[in-house]
């Protein structure tokens, strides 16, 4: 080892690279296999051979790449808007934010994206009508801007919250030390703001990924998108899902590259430079960010929710839509429940099983988990849709509700994994050793962990995944077994056929249900905090 420790740092870097490469390989190999299968299947069919090679380009780049370019442009525009909205709110939440404000700031994330898109659609249409603009959204440029705004209004908290956390954990001490040397404004822009860069760019990266792979918003605003094309391919080639791979390839590879670049960048610039400062609120003035925070919360939370609550007839259930809606709602609950259970079993189980595993194993799971959370849902749909094309007994499993335990398990396992890992870290080694001293068996150990230190954390993770799965559209639509229609799909169909009156009451119910579930998750999180405080 070199005296300055650079040898150790170098080893750490190369280990991170290895983890990252292995993670990307784990995701890349199934995709490559899928493409290989695509060629094999078409090669076996002489009628298709002539079509394969010449049409591959148009499969990857439908409309000559214009769809993907539109997709990228939409995500970039929305990211720019989100940064403008999120930065002042993040600064205010970090410096002065109270629990109520944080809850309000999280609320746009609670509403399922496609429902948020519906709400924004009729909100903006109402506004346009009010201004006498009529069918203003028929213009593609305006549709594009509206779609970007919808994405920004939905996902800005993913940028604001990391900024708030970073400023709360690392800004105060630096600010206090520099307060004697320069005026507050100079201290903020020259010392604090550069320190927030990892959080800001990390949040912006996540936002970009979410915007890039979003399905509901381009669908609602008729914006050309590679995501829509990829799902359309999957719908067309239900029996041969491998054929849908080329169209989704640019999305998957872009997401993989962004995930990898982001992780490497964050690994080089350790997040949080002075954790010892502790989470405390500032006493200093924050008028400009307070005013902007109120404005952003009003524009992105109060306006759409008011618009939803005042929609004509939303509180008068329409008989024609009530019964099918109720069935779809129950179906959505079943899928979400199965999915949350699958994710918790996979995520919490992995966290428990790898408690003593080498860091490289845990790092690998971390990379895969993050990737599967942010990768376009088309990848999971493709992987699992392939099962339907397999032997009859495999197809029977993949064509049943059980597939959602796997699909949402893969999609969201990172959440219970991370929550359980955090809780375990605080639980400490002494408990593990006490279990050994008392000679407790594995079942009793697991029960003790679930009932004790980890119980509320696992419950919290289950509820969060349940809320996410309940509002999820893509996987629910494309993997639902025959005869099952979850609420997301039901609502999508209602909106597609312009039956807004019937759909809006269910949108209201789903939003209320999501808020209730997230509140329960908050209570479980609070309970976890109290539990840990009792043990540490």
């Amino acid at each position: 080892m070199t005296p300055d420790g650079s040898g150790e740092a170098g080893r750490r870097r190369s280990r991170r690279r290895r983890i990252l490469l292995a993670g990307l390989a784990l995701v890349g190999v199934p995709v490559a296999v899928g493409i290989g299968l695509h060629f094999l299947r078409t090669a076996a069919d002489p009628a298709q051979v002539a079509l394969t090679i010449p049409t591959l380009g148009s499969s990857v780049w439908p409309s000559g790449g214009r769809l993907f370019a539109s997709n990228l442009l939409l995500a970039a525009l929305a990211t720019g808007m989100a940064l403008v909205l999120a930065f002042p709110v993040g600064v205010y939440l970090g410096r002065r934010g109270r629990a109520v404000l944080v809850a309000l700031a999280v609320s746009p994330l609670v509403i399922p994206p496609h429902l948020s898109a519906y709400i924004w659609r009729f909100t903006l249409e109402d506004a346009a009508r009010g201004l006498g603009a009529g069918a203003v959204w028929a213009s593609p440029q305006r549709s594009f801007a509206a779609a970007a705004w919808t994405l920004a209004a939905m996902y800005w908290p993913v940028v604001a919250l990391p900024v708030a956390v970073a400023i709360r954990f690392c800004g105060r001490r630096v600010r206090e030390e520099l307060a004697t040397l320069a005026p507050p404004r100079a201290v903020f822009w020259r010392a604090v703001a550069p320190g927030l860069l990892p959080a800001l760019l990390g949040g912006a990266g996540i936002f970009f990924l979410l915007a890039l792979s979003n399905y509901g918003v381009p669908l609602m605003w008729n914006v050309p998108s590679q995501v829509l094309a990829a799902f359309a391919q999957l719908e067309i080639w239900r029996d041969q899902p491998a054929r849908a791979i080329p169209t989704s390839l640019p999305l998957i590879l872009t997401a993989a590259a962004l995930c990898g670049a982001g992780l490497l960048w964050l690994a080089r610039r350790p997040y949080g430079f002075a954790l010892t400062a502790g989470p405390r609120r500032d006493a200093g003035p924050a008028r400009w960010s307070a005013a902007l925070t109120v404005a952003v919360l009003t524009a992105t939370v109060a306006v759409p929710l008011t618009s939803l609550a005042t929609y004509p007839g939303v509180f008068r259930p329409t008989r024609a839509y009530w019964q099918p809606g109720r069935e779809a709602f129950l179906c959505g609950i079943v899928f979400a429940g199965l999915g949350a259970t699958g994710a918790v079993v996979l995520g919490a189980g992995l966290a428990r099983a790898t408690r003593r595993a080498p860091r490289v194993v845990r790092g690998l799971i971390e990379v895969i988990g993050l990737f599967s959370l942010f990768v376009p849902a088309i990848l999971i749909c493709l992987l699992l849709a392939a099962g339907r094309a397999g032997p009859a007994w495999v197809a029977a499993v993949y064509d049943s509700p059980a597939v959602f335990a796997v699909a949402y398990g893969l999609r969201f396992f990172y959440i219970p994994w991370r929550v359980t890992r955090s809780a375990q870290r605080l639980e400490g080694r002494a408990y593990h050793e006490t279990e050994r001293m008392l000679g407790l068996g594995p079942c009793r150990r697991a029960l003790l962990a679930l009932g004790g230190a980890l119980g509320p954390a696992v419950a919290c993770a289950w509820l969060i995944v349940f809320a996410l799965a309940l509002g999820e559209l893509e996987i629910a639509t494309f993997l639902a077994p025959a005869g099952w229609q979850p609420l997301s799909t039901f609502l999508d169909n209602q909106m597609h056929y312009a039956r807004q009156a019937g759909a809006m009451q269910w949108v209201l119910i789903v939003v209320a249900a999501e808020l209730a579930v997230v509140c329960l998750a908050g209570i479980a999180g609070r309970l976890q905090w109290r539990t840990l405080r009792a043990t540490t």
Partner: protein
């Protein structure tokens, strides 16, 4: 019989040696106090005895039977030992009595019998009224008493205490030491006790092992070692002794500012270090040591002074109220002893 014997234990964590050739004995029903600065290997030694870690070499016997070594490693719960950690490890969702009952789950006892035994263990530690309380509502002392009850409910032959009272205040520590003294008297448990604040443990301890950087520096009966440490490190660590350098004369005695000190283990002409405890002095008008106080500060029960005595500066603890510049006559009540570099 639950005596503990460790022979030639070696343990490394990566490149760092934690224990090097450590041997020690705890007699049946005895209390062995394990002392040393941070990183000396005290907790590692305790973990090896508990079976939580395996040594790289060496043997551990409990009650004469090999539990570690010679290819054997008895699991922790089958060794007849109980461990009390520095921080109580009680499961927050279980009541105090249920936490104690956990220790009996593998004993094939009826639930009623387990509950009865757990209640009895809590009763012995004065926790009957708090038996149905959850850990979150217990104080630090109560939590540690429940931990102790859980450790003792299985009637272990050996109790391993890893600084169990480090985070408690003086009164609670004294209270728990009284409980341990009662346990020692009633049930004759062998104890290995790691402690930083060893004053309270001295009341119970029979033997003492002093570790430094993973090696045994001193070991032996506790009262002997406290009175006559044999090494420079032991003298400093155990009694905060003054160390005086001298040369052994032809009569086998080293001449110091405190007078001639017999050095039977040294040859004439050898350089020797002589240790004298700060508590070894008494102000006495007829004392033959005349010192000038350079600095004095009140420490609650005595004055900690720095005194100039025949060209040497000594730390001494005196009951008398003194100030800088005072001239005093001192008498030695404990003779200085020669100590060796370890």
């Amino acid at each position: 019989m639950a005596n503990v014997a460790c022979d030639n234990l070696m343990k490394r964590y990566g490149d760092v040696p934690a224990l090097t050739d450590v041997s020690c004995r705890a007699d049946d029903r005895g209390v062995l106090l394990i002392l040393g600065p941070s990183g000396a290997g005290k907790t590692t030694l305790l973990r090896l005895v508990a079976g939580l870690d395996r040594p790289d070499a060496g043997t551990i016997r409990i009650g004469g039977a090999v539990v570690t070594g010679s290819g054997r490693h008895v699991p922790p719960h089958l060794r007849g030992v109980a461990f009390v950690f520095q921080r109580p490890t009680l499961w927050p969702h279980l009541r105090a009595v249920d936490n104690v009952m956990l220790a009996l789950v593998g004993r094939r006892l009826r639930r009623r019998e387990r509950r009865r035994r757990a209640a009895a263990a809590l009763d012995r530690l004065g926790m009957t009224r708090r038996a149905r309380a959850f850990p979150g509502s217990l104080s630090g002392g109560e939590l540690q008493r429940v931990s102790l009850a859980r450790a003792l409910v299985t009637d272990p032959g050996v109790l391993l205490l890893d600084e169990p009272f480090a985070s408690l205040d003086v009164e609670l520590r004294a209270d728990l030491v009284r409980h341990l003294a009662a346990l020692k008297a009633d049930r004759g448990v062998t104890m290995l006790w790691v402690s930083h604040r060893y004053e309270e443990a001295l009341a119970l301890a029979d033997g003492l092992v002093l570790l430094r950087e993973g090696r045994v520096v001193e070991s032996g009966p506790v009262q002997d070692l406290m009175a006559r440490p044999t090494t420079v490190f032991g003298a400093r660590f155990l009694t905060d002794a003054n160390l005086l350098e001298a040369v052994v004369g032809p009569d086998g005695r080293a001449e110091t500012v405190l007078g001639a000190v017999p050095c039977p283990d040294h040859r004439p002409g050898d350089a020797v270090v002589v240790a004298v405890s700060p508590d070894a002095f008494l102000v006495d008008g007829e004392g033959d040591l005349h010192a000038t106080i350079e600095h004095a500060e009140f420490r609650g029960r005595s004055f900690a002074c720095t005194a100039r005595l025949g060209g040497a500066t000594l730390r001494i603890h005196l009951k008398d109220r003194l100030a800088a510049g005072d001239e005093v006559s001192l008498r030695l009540i404990t003779p200085p002893v020669p100590v060796r570099e370890e």
